[in-house]
Symmetry: C2
Subunit: 245 residues, 2 copies
DNA sequence: TGTACATCAGTGAACGCGCGTTCACTGATGTAC
DNA sequence: TGTACATCAGTGAACGCGCGTTCACTGATGTAC
């Protein structure tokens, strides 16, 4: 069942991948709105109607690209977390490592980034399939916070009264084991992180910022502190001390 | 010269405005990529070629819409600054007032917002005319900082060594009278502010955040503090110690 | 004030293009007996 | 192992559509004398 059954099946997988690869190329050249089944088929040496054996419509191809893009950036974030030192290490540095990895991916794949974090494609509504993959980066950030929380590397920020109910609601939804104040701060930091990336990818920093990596790194570190992450050496007893970058 | 000269001239102004209004309507319905001269003309009861008396091409119409959008959000920010109390008032609150005004405008005009702060329109490169209007919101933020600086309401944040040259370069470009550390923090805060707005406008907060205005207000206040703005009453002698919200 | 001319907004037809999608088909790959 | 049948990837033609832009034109508005 789960093994590859024959030439037909293998060919199907390969052609599907080739279609998506070519579509990604065209995405990079012309943007999502101009993605055309006919152009993809043409470039692949197929006739346009043949694509309908693989994707029932243009929107389905777009959906597949969106799911893949969320998957790629999610995998990038997860890999960065895995290579960012032990889970008791200097937490702001781990956070910054993940943030920088996401930023690097975005700069390397600007059109795929725009597909998922830019203005929504007109007339296209994302189906349910995209919800899961869309949350992977967020889950990584939550995971970092949890690591810090479990190793006493988290200083819970104060929580203003009027925001408390919403913070509790979000915490119940996203991470019931974490303090609501931290979850609220995390959601805000999450949006702000992507704000920095989007401004860079979408050109808002043109003629304004030059040393963009330095500015980003610094801002990412400050965001880490804003959600309560503490530098390693603060946690003495259970052996976490390590100087941050 | 500067007075309205006759029916022809007045008609030209009115028709130009009608074209842009209709184009904005279609923008809201279908997005920038699908903006079509023919559809605009059709809706206006004109023949499509007639639009060429007003805009030499589709791209020029798009450019006009972009310039208008920057102008609208810029004017909104300027108006908010003007009504946000005296220039010596509680600075974080003034900052939050401007931030909220920009957010309100974005939520009221999501497609115009997407036009200027979303993914770039494929195949379209913004001409020089857009650079000036694009900086108005930024100038308002700089103005707020300057007000605080001149009334001793600004605590200059520390500036990490490696970022110093870039901070000095940006300060020389954007606001030579302000401390480089503040300018660097401001640029980051600027991007983060729009990150919060974009996540909300573009739907990233769907199924995650409900009390979006509260979260935004809170985050905007914290951004104000991150650039060094101090609450009003704290400025006693040299204006340093101040309890955050 | 009246006439001759210039300006220019808007018309209508046309050009050439690329698009998404459907449909009946061919022929190769896979399957059941 | 060989044969008959089912599956399905890919073809090629066609449908109907909307687009940006050009061009020669008509007729109203404005201007110079």
């Amino acid at each position: 069942m789960s093994t590859i059954r024959g030439a037909r099946e293998r060919a199907r997988i390969e052609v599907t991948a080739a279609i998506k690869d070519e579509a990604r190329k065209q995405l990079a050249a012309d943007g999502a709105a101009k993605l055309s089944l006919r152009a993809v088929a043409r470039e692949l040496g197929m006739v346009s109607s043949a694509l309908y054996r693989y994707f029932p419509s243009r929107d389905d191809l777009l959906t597949a690209l969106i799911v893949d893009a969320y998957g790629a950036v999610g995998a990038t974030a997860e890999a960065a977390r895995a290579t960012a030192g032990g889970s008791t290490g200097p937490h702001p540095a781990r956070w910054a490592t993940v943030a920088c990895a996401v930023r690097d991916w975005a700069l390397a794949h600007p059109h795929e980034y725009a597909l998922i974090y830019g203005s929504p494609v007109p007339g296209y509504t994302a189906p349910q399939d995209t919800i899961g993959p869309a949350s992977r980066v967020g889950l990584v950030l939550i995971g970092l916070i949890r690591d810090a929380f479990l190793s006493d590397g988290l200083a819970v920020p104060p929580l203003a009264g009027e925001l408390r109910p919403e913070a509790e609601r979000m915490a119940a939804d996203l991470a019931p084991d974490l303090p609501p104040a931290v979850v609220a701060a995390l959601v805000a930091a999450w949006a702000q992180l992507f704000g920095l990336i989007s401004f860079e990818v979408f050109g808002q920093f043109n003629r304004v910022v030059e040393a963009r990596d330095l500015l980003f790194r610094r801002a990412a570190h400050e965001l880490a502190h804003s959600v309560g992450l503490l530098d390693g050496q603060a946690a003495v007893a259970d052996g976490a001390s390590s100087a941050g970058s």
